[in-house]
């Protein structure tokens, strides 16, 4: 076990001698003190580090794409360190803030700041670098506004807050460089939207500003390049920042785990492979076991410890765990005190936590870029290959792992980062800008469009949004007298009063968490009474024990006191709920539930889906698959059909008293769920009497009482019509009215846009109340003003997010005239994994009326047959 503490990130990135030592050359552009420093360290600046220095000197915004271990961070800071080392007092005209470093993670900013201190100290540079996060004391934050450091390391939310302050002009007057770290992780999200708007404002305040973006390899660098630079003529041309690409590292060595035990038909537990995973951990120094969901993390962690005969030090890390607990695990990793960590995407991002020599990806990779990122976690040394092991949990995932492996070998990426900026984010930004200073709508509109996510924004939409920010933007002008923005008389707008700015500051940011319940460990019996009519906590005041973390409210809702579940790697017994805290005690149970967390599952990427479809059709590729999987596909070929890549297969067959329709679009779980909902509605209308449906990443099954095969053969049901694109019109509209996903999306938009305040000065609104009121608001708004700008924002979100309508639409268009149908006597081999999902997960939203009906019928039975006695 390696017990040596790893060198810091900035230093370590260069600590290996460069790959091509023979070509070492002295670079004259680097000041002497820097050259000496590199020399005493025994290093030579890397070509991309010097290239970035040159670009910054030429005042050209640039995107640096470099693999992990290439010294990306030092490359980003080098231009600023050089400039600052040569800056004279005369150069300072405003606050003196020279460089803004923005990272997606607070922890990353803190980590980088610490490591940046080393070169500054060793070269004896007179440069102050400080962090600013939500944890920074108020007094220091105030001082940072009047007397800022030369380099400020912070997060997008903090930048938004600084820009909304009346001092912003003074603060950013000397700003020369903005460094955007892990840009691929920020772009393509609402946080990225907010940051793009802030960048646009920074460019207005400091026209000489250079933006340096640091990113891992991405599918389309031009998306990030456009993001980094101002779009000054958005209608005429796309402007791009320059690009520097660092030489790639060694090819990763990736394997797919193959065992004697055949891969299961379905499921996500991966239990069959745990011994092999354990053995791999035992053979490596530090293994990172990535899973896709927190639920899987808990499960895999439990399984590994169950078989942990060698007493390996295996830890757990996921987003619901208490922050303190996570920090402990991270520190232990860095110190080499662990053998393995089971983690979700919380460990996907840049921080260097230790000498990882193996990455195991349990479950489906879901996307080529995602897998590449995870594999990159192993080994931060550029010239050594990373080792990775892919562990599929079921047969479809074998295909997906194979596709991901092929994509990784081909160096392909698939994450699409370009997106149309959210209107809810823009609403928040507009208010922030008004808090800073009165603005002229024409100027702000121009500035907003210079941010690439908003370059297609229509003036009409912008004006509606202004009206929304000012008075709610309703056709019924009821709130003029409460307006937040008021005209100044010279065509500009200002905030109505100081309270507006105060409320803005409390609501800034784009992360809206679903209502979470704190899980607190208490002794058994020292818990609030949670009887049916009990007064919670009525018996005695309860002193809370240790906080284990947070869990989704929906999960706690399903629990009764006494039930056990797995959390933070422990089995706990649910004792009761008080306010927003769930009290649990330690327990032993063999059948403990595992919380599921919504939103944790990424759908299969379009790119991998395409590869899987091609692989399915290519019979020669089957030879590379494990035998049971190849046999499975052979059987499908024999009994039903293997569709060609541009076709979609639809099978119908009877089973028991039900009739099934199974389709295989390979478009990801979200799009399939939406499709399932819509098909069900259409089948209902066609008289096929559907009863339910189930979807996974690869396909979906609808079942019902109508004889589907016969209906199709008799011409009573047309598959072409069933899959007609117009289902995205009225049917979708009708379903959305009741969709909980849509209401959830609306709530997020409403909070971000400032319709609902997430916090009032003085008290924090609990998630429960928010959920309640936004559903009612959604219903009323939809009924009276379906064209409202906030519904438009929510719709756009749902289309690209939880409902994946964009992808479903592309699928429906792609398969027009390419639907192949097989009417079978029974279950087909390919359908088995999908059918096995039935009953695994709770019933969806549409069944709620049935539940009420069942409850009422239970009461009637009780009344007519007498009460049941225990």
């Amino acid at each position: 076990m390696n017990d040596k503490r790893k060198p810091s990130r900035v230093l370590k990135r260069s600590s290996k001698p460069p790959a091509r030592r023979g070509r070492t050359r002295r670079d004259v552009s680097l000041p002497q003190v820097f050259q000496t420093w590199f020399k005493t360290r025994g290093w030579t600046p890397r070509p991309h580090q010097l290239a970035l220095l040159k670009k910054a000197r030429a005042r050209t915004s640039t995107l640096l794409i470099a693999p992990t271990g290439a010294g990306k961070t030092l490359a980003g800071f080098l231009p600023s360190l050089v400039e600052l080392s040569q800056r004279t007092p005369e150069d300072v005209k405003g606050s003196g803030l020279h460089t803004l470093y923005i990272s997606p993670l607070k922890a990353l900013a803190v980590d980088i700041a610490r490591n940046l201190g080393t070169p500054i100290a060793e070269m004896g540079l007179d440069i102050v670098a400080e962090t600013r996060t939500g944890d920074t004391p108020a007094s220091r934050r105030a001082r940072q506004r009047s007397r800022p450091p030369s380099i400020l390391l912070t997060t997008p939310e903090q930048v938004a807050l600084l820009l909304a302050h009346p001092d912003a002009g003074f603060l950013f007057a000397d700003l020369k460089t903005v460094i955007l770290d892990e840009l691929h992780a920020l772009c393509g999200s609402k946080r990225g939207d907010l940051l793009s708007l802030d960048l646009a404002r920074l460019r207005s305040l400091a026209p000489d500003l250079v933006a340096l973006g640091l990113s891992a390899t991405v599918a389309r660098p031009s998306e990030l390049r456009a993001y980094l630079t101002g779009q000054h003529k958005p209608d005429a041309r796309l402007e791009l920042a320059d690009l520097v690409v660092a030489a790639g590292g060694a090819e990763p060595q990736i394997e797919i785990l193959e065992l004697e035990t055949p891969v299961p038909w379905s499921g996500h537990t991966t239990r069959y492979a745990m011994t092999a995973v354990y053995d791999a951990i035992a053979q490596h120094r530090l293994t990172l076991v990535f899973v896709n969901t927190r639920m899987q993390a808990e499960l895999v962690f439990q399984e590994l410890w169950r078989i942990n005969e060698g007493n390996l030090r295996i830890a757990l890390h996921h987003g619901s765990l208490d922050v303190g607990q996570r920090r402990k695990v991270e520190a232990a990793m860095a110190a080499g005190r662990l053998d393995a960590v089971v983690a979700t995407s919380t460990l996907d991002l840049g921080i260097d936590w230790g000498d990882i020599d193996l990455v195991i990806n349990v479950g489906a990779p879901k996307g080529a870029s995602r897998l590449a990122q995870r594999i990159g976690r192993a080994n931060h040394r550029l010239d050594e290959p990373s080792h990775a092991l892919l562990v599929p949990s079921n047969r479809f995932e074998v295909l997906e792992c194979r596709a991901a492996l092929d994509a990784a070998r081909a160096g392909e990426q698939d994450v699409v980062l370009a997106r149309t900026g959210g209107l809810d984010v823009l609403a928040q930004h507009v208010l922030g800008m008004a808090c800073q200073a009165p603005f002229a709508p024409d100027d702000l509109y121009r500035e907003v469009r210079s941010a690439s996510p908003y370059s297609a924004l229509k003036r009409e939409t912008f004006d509606r949004l202004l009206s929304f920010v000012s008075t709610g933007g309703y056709a019924l002008a009821a709130y003029e007298r409460f307006a937040k923005l008021r005209p100044t008389g010279d065509g500009r707008w200002r905030i109505a009063n100081g309270r507006v700015a105060q409320a803005y500051r409390l609501n800034v940011g784009t992360i809206v968490e679903s209502p979470l319940i704190t899980v607190r460990l208490v002794g058994r019996g020292r818990t609030p009474r949670a009887g049916k009519t009990g007064r919670p906590g009525g018996e005695r005041p309860l002193m809370g024990g240790r906080v284990l973390g947070e869990v989704d409210e929906d999960f706690i809702d399903q629990l009764s006191p006494g039930q056990t579940f797995v959390f933070a790697g422990e089995i706990v017994r649910f004792e009761g709920l008080r306010d927003t805290e769930a009290f649990v005690s330690r327990a032993t149970a063999t059948d403990a539930m595992i919380p599921s967390y919504p939103g944790g599952k990424f759908p299969l990427s379009t790119h991998l889906a395409k590869r899987v479809r091609a692989m399915l059709h290519d019979r020669r590729a089957w030879a590379d698959l494990p035998l049971p999987v190849a046999e499975w596909l052979g059987l499908q070929d024999l009994h039903s059909l293997i569709p060609s890549p541009d076709e979609v297969l639809v099978e119908t067959f009877p089973r028991g008293s039900r009739h099934y329709l199974v389709a295989y679009p390979f478009e990801g779980r979200l799009a399939h769920q939406t499709l399932g909902m819509l098909l069900t509605r259409r089948l209902e209308r066609a008289g096929a009497r559907p009863l339910g449906f189930v979807a996974n990443d690869y396909g979906l099954a609808v079942w019902g009482l109508g004889e589907l095969s016969q209906m199709i053969e008799a011409g009573k049901l047309s598959l072409d019509q069933l899959f007609e694109q117009d289902m995205l019109g009225d049917d979708l509209e009708a379903w959305l009215a009741e969709s909980s996903l849509m209401k959830r999306t609306f709530r997020m938009c409403a909070v971000i846009a400032g319709l609902i305040e997430r916090r009032h000065p003085g008290h924090r609104k609990s998630g429960r109340q928010v959920t309640m009121s936004t559903d009612l608001i959604y219903d009323v708004l939809r009924k009276f003003e379906p064209g409202h700008v906030l519904l438009e924002a929510a719709w756009a979100d749902a289309a690209s997010g939880l409902l994946d309508i964009a992808r479903l639409g592309a699928f429906l268009q792609r398969v027009r005239g390419h639907i192949v149908h097989r009417s079978l006597g029974g279950v087909s081999p390919l359908s088995v994994p999908i059918l096995l999902e039935i009953g695994r997960e709770p019933a969806g939203q549409a069944g709620r009326e049935d539940i009420l009906r069942d409850a009422a019928e239970a009461l009637i039975r009780e009344a007519t047959e007498g009460p049941a006695r225990d």
Partner: protein
């Protein structure tokens, strides 16, 4: 996630539920209103007109259509119960004391139209201890009729039969891993509390201590939850706290 296809609304088995208070039989409607056939009286509680604009005063611009929505649902109700002669609004009809000044002219006109159809009685509540004369109708603190007392907040005494609002009762049940929380009627043989009728009104769980003083230990209480298609009497043993 498997979905369940929406079942066609069944033949109104739960559409209207009879509830007996004292010797009177009342009908619980799925809108949350209560109808008293013998007296041809419709009763609704907690309309909270202009709650949206009340929030707007504090910078949250909720859609300003809550009053209109509530009025439209009242209109639909009066159409369905077209033999109703009287409508009684059981207090908290206006969200705050200046709400009547913020009523949109169209909404006021609509209210007047409804008042032309039936006799309209405002019972005062804590949000609206006075009801402005401009709103028409008759104003009172309490209505006593046919052996029943109708008032805004349920009283702690139990020596009469009572119909009230104020508490915004809601109930939650969990089945098949699915949690459902809905407004509800809650009562025993001598007292009934109506759910809130207003568009932006939330609900208080009937297991909350605030409801405890209303029931006796022996007799307990009953709950009728509002669904999409009907009013569902639900076993109290199935109820859950929030």
């Amino acid at each position: 996630m498997p979905g369940v296809a929406a079942r066609n609304a069944s033949a109104d088995a739960f559409g209207r539920q009879p509830i007996v208070i004292g010797s009177e039989t009342l009908i619980a409607d799925l809108s949350g209103a209560l109808y008293w056939p013998a007296r041809q009286i419709l009763i609704v509680a907690d309309l909270h007109f202009e709650k949206g604009s009340s929030y707007a005063r504090h910078g949250q611009f909720l859609p300003p259509y809550d009053t209109r929505d509530t009025l439209q649902r009242l209109a639909a109700l009066l159409k369905r119960y077209n033999d109703a002669r009287t409508l009684i609004a059981l207090g908290d009809s206006l969200h705050d004391r200046s709400a009547h000044q913020r009523l949109a002219p169209d909404d006021l006109a609509m209210l007047r139209e409804l008042q032309a159809v039936c006799d309209w009685i405002w019972v005062c509540g804590n949000h609206d201890p006075v009801v402005d004369i401009s709103l028409g109708g008759r104003v009172t603190d309490i209505v006593e009729i046919g052996g029943l007392v109708l008032r805004h907040a349920p009283s702690p005494e139990r020596d009469f039969y009572e119909i009230a609002g104020h508490l915004h009762p809601a109930a939650r049940i969990v089945q098949h891993g699915c949690s459902i929380r809905r407004p509800c009627f809650v009562g025993d043989r001598s007292r009934l509390v109506l759910p809130a009728f207003g568009a932006y009104t939330g609900g208080l769980n009937v297991l909350d201590p605030a409801f405890l003083p209303l029931w006796t230990e022996e007799a307990g209480f009953s709950v009728w939850m509002l669904g999409q298609d009907g009013v569902y009497p639900v076993p109290v043993a199935m109820l859950r706290e929030d």
